[in-house]
């Protein structure tokens, strides 16, 4: 049986460093399996978040060989074996312990977004073609990998920007065929959409393959432009009922 060398960050808010572990490789193994092996046999207090182990809950995010990923969906056999595999916590969020970070800021941002508000008197008829694009956004598992990779949050620590995850959530609400609220002023001001300069890094890391930039952020930017600088386009949209 071959062995993998893992360099896993161990530490807390005060600091820390990578610690090396050797883990036997089994067929089809993922990085989360390796972390569990470490917990079960070498370091029982290694802090890791996980739930589903099937890419459905978005708990197990970390940076594997420098790339933001779900550890439960990162196959060991897809990583180079001639060098140690590094596993670090998401850099954008403060470390609590080892691979566990403080993501509470995301929950605070989320509270700013008004929930779904149905149109009065609707008969709740909706057609698949009208909801396809919203269903794409609703696939989001809140792994916060897009938040982690976005340079506005990561390098510039501009927490005035809500980040791609919340652009996706707002787009889902704004494009819901039966929603009646207007979140565009919020998108411009409180959510700070202007900070995004469309680098598309978020789209690249999204494990749900949501086209965050093309399908959520750019259309929202267009709506901001319409609402604030082109009232006619906004009016046309209102009249034709396009959301």
């Amino acid at each position: 049986m071959s062995e993998a060398v893992m360099q896993v960050f161990r530490g807390n808010r005060e600091g820390g460093s990578p610690v090396e572990f050797r883990v036997p490789i089994t067929p089809g193994m993922v990085v989360l399996d390796a972390l569990h092996h470490i917990q079960g046999h070498q370091a029982p207090d290694l802090a890791v978040r996980w739930n589903c182990k099937a890419g459905k809950c978005g708990s197990c995010s970390a940076e594997v060989n420098g790339r933001p990923r779900l550890t439960c969906k990162t196959r060991m056999d897809a990583l180079p074996t001639d060098q140690p595999i590094t596993v670090n916590p998401m850099k954008t969020f403060p470390v609590i312990k080892d691979l566990v970070t403080d993501v509470s800021w995301n929950y605070e941002v989320n509270k700013k977004i008004p929930a779904f508000k149905p149109k009065a008197g609707t008969d709740w008829k909706m057609y698949q073609e009208d909801i396809d694009r919203v269903q794409e956004f609703r696939k989001c598992i809140e792994c916060f990998l897009c938040q982690d990779v976005c340079h506005v949050l990561r390098d510039h620590d501009k927490k005035e920007f809500a980040g791609p995850r919340f652009m996706v959530r707002t787009a889902a609400l704004e494009m819901h065929p039966l929603d009646s609220a207007d979140r565009i002023p919020l998108v411009k001001k409180e959510l700070g959409i202007g900070y995004c300069n469309i680098t598309k890094c978020c789209t690249e890391v999204c494990p749900e393959e949501i086209h965050i930039t093309d399908n959520a952020i750019i259309p929202l930017k267009e709506r901001v432009v319409d609402e604030f600088y082109d009232p006619i386009a906004k009016l046309v949209r209102k009249i034709t009922g396009a959301k």
């Binding site: 193994m29 029982p44 802090a47 182990k53 890419g55 609590i96 709740w124 909706m126 269903q135």
Partner: protein, 570 residues
């Protein structure tokens, strides 16, 4: 009340933030209660998020002949008549409105061509009944409930584990626990407490369940003097992944069969022909799981000890649209393209039909002020649950529990918390740090899982069950001596040391109940008693704590009223 700890006060305290807990919170808030929700993971990550195939409700959008009566009948028949009939009736009647409500709160289910909620076929359901969103229905549901709860201003205590329920005399007074992050203790004072802690799958080696499913709520309620019901009925889902090893047990949704997937053995035979020629692949889960198990045992299994499940005869685009997460799951984790190749599948421990005994209308347990809903509660599903009937259970009885708990809180005065109880809870939690020798909790957990898998699995027999009880005694002894390394800060080893206690309690209740029920019914299959027994069909097993011993007794199943009896005879 002890003031050494951080303290929070609520009218209604809800333990668990899955579908049941969140739905309960929404209802209690709507009735003016001050509500707190505690959960072990981050908000939105509870097990409910993983549900795939759909939520059952007789909307009759696809099959116009459907209605609550056929849904009730299917649920009772699927549960081999051991269900609490009143729960089954309420569930069939109310699930329709509960699904509509989800839509009104923003959920977007897949649509029919005339703009209604689309419904798919599932095992044991006579009509196309499961409302769904591809194969990620649970995610849609938990996000909808989470958004609604947050909008209503619910207080959520995330990554906080409850280790003890507190009482004031006979009635409930609150709960004690710790913050996973810092390891600090915290106490909650509450007039009503609702347990929505989900399942128990982590006691078995091969399971579809997450680390959270350690039966905490059932064990805490048992410790607090509540009764557990039908603990022998553990559902093994027929189709979990079997290869590669790391993914063993991960669920393959029944929707694959609902969408037309075929089961074959290594000889290419559609073996369900032998076991249930009428319903074939869409037979109930207990039957399909036993069939696959038998095929493998008799040497007709696949290379890695499973059966083949094939959907590749459907157009590739259709498969990707209807089963997107299955497509990705197999492609990324098993190198299998399900639009071209069959999947290898085998039984996996999946769902707990048994649990805390509750009253049908109010979800109240036998302890005043203590309620339970969702997978942690028992009664609705009898001896076997139909797919899709859990998500509906969560919203129907989550709502009822939230309502009854809020009403209860209006009627009673503030409880008192007994400081000595808190001190004991604290001591119990800190004990593993004082062990200088002793083994890792992970080692004891592994042995528990191996033991339950081999001795209290799909097929049971008296000798095995007796051995299991003896093994449980040894494991309990070992568990009291486990040693924890490191500090109290986010320490999974320490957390497991506590969860292990809950798993042991629940495993014992399952084993004792399984030993007592000398018949085979639904998910409970005794090799030594292969048939149904008329007397056992009229009674439920109840587990209760008497001092330090686990007592088992039988109670008569509530008699069916004539109108419902007529429905079932049809």
């Amino acid at each position: 009340m002890s003031d050494r700890f951080e303290t929070h006060e609520h009218d209604v305290l809800i333990i668990g933030a899955g579908g049941a807990g969140l739905r309960a919170a929404i209802e209690a808030l709507a009735h003016g209660a001050k509500v707190g929700v505690v959960c072990k993971s981050l908000l939105g990550k509870a097990h409910t998020v993983m549900a795939e195939g759909g939520i059952a409700a007789a909307m009759a959008n696809v099959d116009s002949a459907d209605g609550w009566i056929p849904h009730f009948r299917d649920t009772m028949r699927g549960g081999k008549m051991l269900n609490n009939w009143r729960m089954a009736q309420l569930h069939a009647q109310e699930s329709i409105d509960r699904v509509k409500e989800l839509e009104q709160w923003g959920a977007l289910f897949d649509r029919t061509s005339d703009g209604n909620i689309l419904q798919r076929a599932f095992g044991g359901h006579t009509f196309k009944r499961l409302c769904h969103v591809g194969d990620r229905t649970g995610l849609e549901m938990i996000r909808t409930l989470q958004d609604r709860g947050v909008e209503m201003g619910v207080d959520v205590y995330m990554e906080c584990t409850i280790t003890k329920l507190l009482k004031d005399g006979d009635r409930i007074a609150g709960a004690f626990g710790y913050w996973r992050e810092q390891g600090r203790f915290v106490q909650f004072k509450a007039k009503s407490v609702i347990i929505c802690t989900g399942g128990i799958g982590k006691s078995w080696k091969i399971t579809s369940n997450s680390w959270e499913c350690t039966g905490d709520g059932m064990a805490l309620a048992y410790d607090a003097g509540a009764e557990l019901l039908d603990m022998e009925f553990v559902q093994f889902h027929p189709t979990g992944m079997v290869w590669p090893p790391g993914v063993q047990g991960i669920l393959v949704t029944e929707a694959v069969r609902g969408e037309g997937g075929l089961l074959t053995n290594k000889l290419g035979e559609r073996f369900m022909q032998k076991y249930d020629p009428k319903k074939m692949e869409l037979s109930t889960r207990d039957v399909v799981a036993r069939s696959i198990y038998t095929e493998v045992k008799e040497g007709r299994g696949s290379e890695h000890g499973g059966a083949f499940l094939d959907i590749s005869h459907k157009p590739a685009e259709y498969v990707k649209q209807k089963l997107p997460s299955m497509y990705h799951q197999f492609k990324e984790l098993a190198d299998v393209d399900i639009t071209k190749q069959p999947m290898e599948v085998g039984p996996t421990c999946h769902y707990m039909m048994g649990g805390i005994r509750v009253e049908a209308e109010t979800a109240q347990t036998t302890v005043p002020g203590l309620f339970a809903a969702g997978e942690a509660a028992a009664g609705l599903h009898g001896a076997n649950r139909l797919g899709g009937n859990s998500l509906s259970d969560l919203v129907v009885f989550g709502r009822r529990a939230g309502l009854a708990a809020a009403e209860h809180a209006k009627k009673v005065s503030a409880p008192n918390i007994d400081a000595s109880e808190i001190e004991r809870a604290e001591r119990e939690m800190l004990a593993p740090f004082d062990q200088s020798a002793g083994e890792s909790p992970y080692a004891v957990h592994r042995d528990l899982q191996d033991m339950m898998q081999s001795l209290v699995g799909i097929f049971r027999v008296e000798d095995d069950l007796k051995t299991a009880l003896a093994e449980l005694d040894k494991l309990k002894e070992r568990a009291t001596k486990v040693r924890v390394e490191g500090s109290r800060m986010f320490n999974p080893g320490w957390h497991l040391a506590r969860d292990l206690q809950c798993m042991l309690t629940v495993s014992e209740a399952v084993t004792r109940s399984a030993l007592a029920r000398k018949e085979s019914r639904g998910a409970h299959s005794r090799i030594d008693y292969p048939g149904l027994d008329e007397q056992w069909g009229k009674q439920n097993n109840i587990t209760k704590r008497e001092g330090e011993t686990m007592m088992l007794k039988q109670v008569a199943r509530p008699p069916l009223p004539d109108d419902l009896k007529k429905i079932l005879d049809e």
